[in-house]
Subunit: 346 residues, 4 copies
Amino acid sequence: MATTRVAIVNVTGYIGVDIARILLRHPEVELTCVTGRSQAGKTLSEVFPHLTSSDLVIQPELDASVDVVFSAMPHKASAEVCEPFVSQGLKVIDISADFRLKDLAEYEYWYGVEHPCSQLLEDAVYGLPELHREAIAGARLVANPGCYPTGAILALAPAMASGMVTGDIIVDSKSGVSGAGRSLTMTTHYAECNESVSAYAVGGHRHMPEIRQECGLLNPDLGEVVFQPHLIPMTRGILSTCYARLSEDWLARGEAAARDVFAVYRDFYMEAPFSAVVDAPPATKHVWGSNYCHVYARVDVRSGRLLVISAIDNLVRGGAGEAVQNMNLMCGFPETCGLEALPVYP
Amino acid sequence: MATTRVAIVNVTGYIGVDIARILLRHPEVELTCVTGRSQAGKTLSEVFPHLTSSDLVIQPELDASVDVVFSAMPHKASAEVCEPFVSQGLKVIDISADFRLKDLAEYEYWYGVEHPCSQLLEDAVYGLPELHREAIAGARLVANPGCYPTGAILALAPAMASGMVTGDIIVDSKSGVSGAGRSLTMTTHYAECNESVSAYAVGGHRHMPEIRQECGLLNPDLGEVVFQPHLIPMTRGILSTCYARLSEDWLARGEAAARDVFAVYRDFYMEAPFSAVVDAPPATKHVWGSNYCHVYARVDVRSGRLLVISAIDNLVRGGAGEAVQNMNLMCGFPETCGLEALPVYP
Amino acid sequence: MATTRVAIVNVTGYIGVDIARILLRHPEVELTCVTGRSQAGKTLSEVFPHLTSSDLVIQPELDASVDVVFSAMPHKASAEVCEPFVSQGLKVIDISADFRLKDLAEYEYWYGVEHPCSQLLEDAVYGLPELHREAIAGARLVANPGCYPTGAILALAPAMASGMVTGDIIVDSKSGVSGAGRSLTMTTHYAECNESVSAYAVGGHRHMPEIRQECGLLNPDLGEVVFQPHLIPMTRGILSTCYARLSEDWLARGEAAARDVFAVYRDFYMEAPFSAVVDAPPATKHVWGSNYCHVYARVDVRSGRLLVISAIDNLVRGGAGEAVQNMNLMCGFPETCGLEALPVYP
Amino acid sequence: MATTRVAIVNVTGYIGVDIARILLRHPEVELTCVTGRSQAGKTLSEVFPHLTSSDLVIQPELDASVDVVFSAMPHKASAEVCEPFVSQGLKVIDISADFRLKDLAEYEYWYGVEHPCSQLLEDAVYGLPELHREAIAGARLVANPGCYPTGAILALAPAMASGMVTGDIIVDSKSGVSGAGRSLTMTTHYAECNESVSAYAVGGHRHMPEIRQECGLLNPDLGEVVFQPHLIPMTRGILSTCYARLSEDWLARGEAAARDVFAVYRDFYMEAPFSAVVDAPPATKHVWGSNYCHVYARVDVRSGRLLVISAIDNLVRGGAGEAVQNMNLMCGFPETCGLEALPVYP
């Protein structure tokens, strides 16, 4: 069988280059083209010394014939880049937010731009394999989830689907600095963010509607989602702590709820190769460098609340690894292909 | 006027030694005795090389005649140590949790020990100057607040006192590792906690009842307090993100609430030398090494919630600095004496 | 062909568990037994949550029939453990220092113990593949190099072998904290070593004679080796900066030396799959989580010196990965088998 | 006595703002003007939230009548700014490199610019109080030392002055990231430098001639200075490890040299309030946030070398604190005035 040829558009950001890292060792595909305007003409290893073994030259534009395209362009530009590829029948995985929100008005409100090709929204599949595995397998365009939504939705999905909770949801997330990208900002200047924790986007963050959309699909009675992200002095990882009120049914179970919640979560992720329900609070270190998500759920009888905590590596499970997992599903490869590496600890 | 003589019992923990650092430069007192069994016989500078200038010898027991005692002993042992000093008429500031909770049953439930001298509970004053300045000034025994409660209560007090919020409170706190103390544990082993975030004490943390007690004094209608601490890879600092539902009155104000909340907070802390109401989300770096608390409050109209975020240095404002501030009040010194140092940035 | 069965003795240290991480994904072997007294009876995933997928139970002693044994015991105990395995004809890779130094007196001087089975010293092969590939392939006992010596020797070997330098060598190394192991110490307590750099073992470090031995084999005229390690606030990585005086021959080349040195280094490592000669100063981040060593050499004409800088991941190239590379050579597997993962950046 | 009025030109860099932090609490001076073009019109507390208490407005240009000026402008621009102030008889402390090197050709070689007012070089005093206290006290223009030279010269001065060493000197320095300044660069982007160590300026660094100049004044027989800086993942601090060959005299002392070296160092710094000769290897944490320098010297008999290690806070002792110390000397204030704060540990 011919090897599948793959391209990465805009390889020079952190998710783009992490896709390259994974694909360079993926047994079923060949990375045949990477693009990036500012570094065009240089080899991958010149720009990214950790990829010493690669002499692939960064191109200004995609110029090769490929089967699959990952776009790691910024939003709006990404939709514009993806549209012709989709039309040509390539399989496209869009890392940007352009095809995640089904509600066009929501997209335009939160991103402040007009959508360049909203006609593709209907066909696009939200690329969270635990929720949409079959649709992804049949998709021609997959919207790779945001990093925060990946962690938050994986934390909440079993509770949503089972009617365990009711009312509003509070998601308090803590992200490593790589989530802010590779562009230089005062916020990500080492001496500014090292040894410091802060909240940001206190008025509202673009990832909130994504969490609400997917949780709402699982439970139409969902109330408001309050999502508050924080910047943490570490490179990789997102820990999301979710607070929700137990439903009447679950409150009535009393102490048994504590045991039942574990079973609900375990069953929900029984078939998911990268979602592990753990029985102690997870640390982002437990998933570092891997595509795993660790989820821990606990009932607090006193306050009548469910607490769920999830840990992911924001660049792998919340980005490059999830994108490759989606490619695997779209191409009929084993779902875990190229993603088997265990987390690097400590 | 004779200089006030001060002792620190158990100087070898992080809060103990930070009290020493401050007192060695305090113009109104003389640090005349420090104790610590494991290091007795050595000088402060041998055990703590940052105190190069001090040749004070660590004693096995307090053996000098002093006016003020700081006890940095563990709980239960601390109460036992403090009792005779209080009886002798010394001014005592207890860093442990022994005299913080007014409800003896609560204390015994959360700390799992019998209180060795509960007769002192009534006289002990909870040492948060913003709430109890006058009582502290007249106290013979001050219970220095826990680090988390300091940040959480300072975040919530104006909202509590003004009836701005109703129902349950969720406090999601992020602490640097020094909060876990100087004793060796796997949790605080560098390679285990560096580049990682995790929640701990998910079933309930001893600092919760302290937050509930003080918030409840300000607002008897307070619901449950859900308090969830997290360990963050940095040395110093606590950021507390607090979520509460706005009361009917405040919901009715609509957009005006956003402006009013700032005024309520600013007025509440008008006279507090170390509590600053800021107009952008604070970072723990903004208060590093200082006794300041930065508080930021924001109304989220969509979800009908108040978010308040506070930042402190857990060892200064959440420990040694607050203890010295209490001493200043008890001794009639200027409240800020010895604590004027500005935060060290970056 | 039957799968090769492998055991790890003392899996609970950082190198032991990193060998497990690699072997659990190694296509040619089956990890059939792991031992560790303090955690015996628990599964790997209970003790090490990043290995969620492994339900291998930690044994008190090696009790299975295996083909290859890795010993990650402390020195002296390791030799005692390895001896019977070697006698039984198993292939043994010893992570400890017990079989690294050919000179028994040196060993006993630096480690302060009597060697329990010095009769094996002659047969043991120093497991640095770049220098001893063929001997390793034929060995029954391989002494896995220390982490510092791996970086230092790889930096110096081409210069030594080519007669480029003369006289004493100064090696100034900077190591992440994981190099100090998983046992709790004040030195590796987070709040003590974070945001701080310090030198240690200023009077002499046990890895010096190892560097001297291997460099001396390449160049018998070697002078003294001054080796000074430092502790750096990061989890993984060693950067070694080496200073040596250019030989007369090389001084005479003048400016041409700058170009020639690169060629000498590149040629020396032409066949080495994991040693990359780079043309800009390396960072430990460039090799994070991988078995690569990056080496950069530069002539300083003004001072007549050669500077060589090498970067490794101390737990992989300086430990677990190198050990697996040695196993691959001993077992006739492809040298890079199981070690193909690219460095994780950023 | 009238309070001394002080200005800081270009307050918006890390050293500029750290001078502000110190001066805002200095009992003898009033900070009356701060300038900074990009942030002109804002208050100090708007730009630097840690200075909550200051409503000083940043000016585009120095417009007030002052007695002392600190210039934290970049080199060349700084000399141009300082010249008229010196002419007007103000006391000027220049943080830039413009007046450090006495040899005009050296300056122009290393900084690549023509010196705008070399006529002031003769009068300028190199502001290292331990070496030039009296000259500083009488100076109208002080060149504040570079951060690396401060640590390196303080490490080497006693050895130089006493003839303890001979030949070349190797200085291997490890600096926190704040030393690279507040301007955004890829090198100082959090995810790039966190969890990584690297060498930079391998071909030669501008601070080398400064070290050579001051060491050469103490010992005209000095050989070459090899200076190699490294970037370390921490915010503040420089550790310098210095290697030098012992002179014949000192080699002849044998084991006694170990004891004698301590006495030479201790005596040299007997009168220096901020230089402490310590008897164990220092850590940068021991001086964090303070003006102290800790120096540790050790003889290595085997290799015939002296190792000296110094630790400073690069922004205080290597910048703002040293500048204020120079101001104190120039103005006749107590040398330690405003600088008494002890290091913040942990």
